[in-house]
Symmetry: C2
Subunit: 225 residues, 2 copies
């Protein structure tokens, strides 16, 4: 039995809708292991793991949301983890890869005919003061019989929203470049993902985020990248 | 004008179909910068950049295929780069994140009604002798009017193929776990991606690969992970 087949707004929960993420954080400093372990501890100490399931395996960390506001909890956790790794890395270069997913949890079949999906409000995160550059991809997973229309139309609308937010979205191969405060970069991707999720029952977004990149620092100093 | 709208088997090329990848390689050793730069040089020296466009920016490296066999060229480049980073890292822990895409290049609109897409043969890569663990996601980007059917059916068929190859696919949240030789792990994901691409004009696959993970080594020694 799939989540979508028995979707009922009265009983739906983030857990039943399969709202969660996977993330990998790569601090590029010598003490990278301590930076990762320490950053996870910092985020737990700050209480950001509340109402989340956090499971780290040999490839990445799964974080699932147990209650509302699910999207904001996930985004706040991701931003705090990246910021903590950056601080523990001596404000050094950190790259993180994030996958946010909703709908069709596990290998179950979804029913794309179901509508009436939840429409969460935009999330609010504090500015971190940490400038970030990201490459962002959005995957609305329609079916042949879906009412969601054209998957590229959803993607184009999301890019226009990012441009309107001043996140300076520009097209790269297979991804859109986002540039801004770490919190705003993550909020932009998460808001687009939830907005598509109000129409398309299964939607995934991927975000590769770089902070304190040596090539960006070199460019600011006027040298070549 | 989109690639799909004017797809013609007689004139189609990997470049016109937008066949390419983005990858980030994270060597987790102290000399991580030298490992990345050195690995890129090793792969170029081995001639694996032939008939590929390779562009590194502050977040990841874009690799586009200019000629056939496009999928095999991309996969061989990715495997060689990860293997070179692993060797330069003292056979240490390396994590790589890969995105393979075909169809709908840039932000153009695709025409999902077009069929007659190419069906490349399975790729062949040498075994590397490097054991790998990966988390793999496949995104068949259908439209509401597509003939490609149910996106989950394509994903389930791909997982069954991976199981049949003995890559020990098991389900994780939002990803399928693949375990095996680095070359076979990448081949499995690439073959599934091209197979879906014969039916669905726009398909993307993501792969997070870990080699020489300290947690796997600990498990082999009988200690806790």
């Amino acid at each position: 039995m799939s989540i979508q087949q028995d979707y009922d707004p009265a009983t739906a929960s983030p857990e039943r809708l399969g709202i969660g993420m996977r993330l990998s954080v790569h601090p590029h400093c010598d003490a990278f292991e301590e930076a990762i372990v320490g950053a996870l501890a910092d985020v737990a100490d700050a209480g950001l793991g509340a109402e989340l399931v956090v499971e780290t395996d040999e490839v990445s960390t799964y974080v699932g949301a147990l209650s509302e506001p699910a999207e904001e909890r996930l985004a706040a956790f991701a931003v705090a983890l990246i910021a903590a790794a950056y601080r523990r890395c001596g404000e050094g270069h950190v790259v993180a890869h994030l996958l946010f997913s909703r709908g069709c949890p596990g290998e179950v079949t979804c029913n794309p005919e179901k509508v009436g999906l939840p429409t969460p409000a935009p999330i609010h995160l504090e500015a971190t003061g940490i400038p970030a550059v990201a490459q962002w991809s959005l995957y609305p997973l329609l079916d042949g019989s879906s009412k969601g229309g054209d998957h590229m139309a959803h993607i184009e609308a999301a890019i226009e929203s990012a441009k309107a937010r001043g996140i300076a979205a520009s097209a790269n191969h297979y991804a859109t470049k986002l540039t801004g405060d770490l919190g705003e970069v993550v909020s932009t991707a998460v808001d687009a993902w939830t907005q598509v999720g109000a129409v398309v029952p299964h939607v995934v977004t991927h975000l590769s985020i770089s902070v304190a990149s040596p090539s960006v620092a070199a460019a600011k100093e006027g040298t070549t990248r």
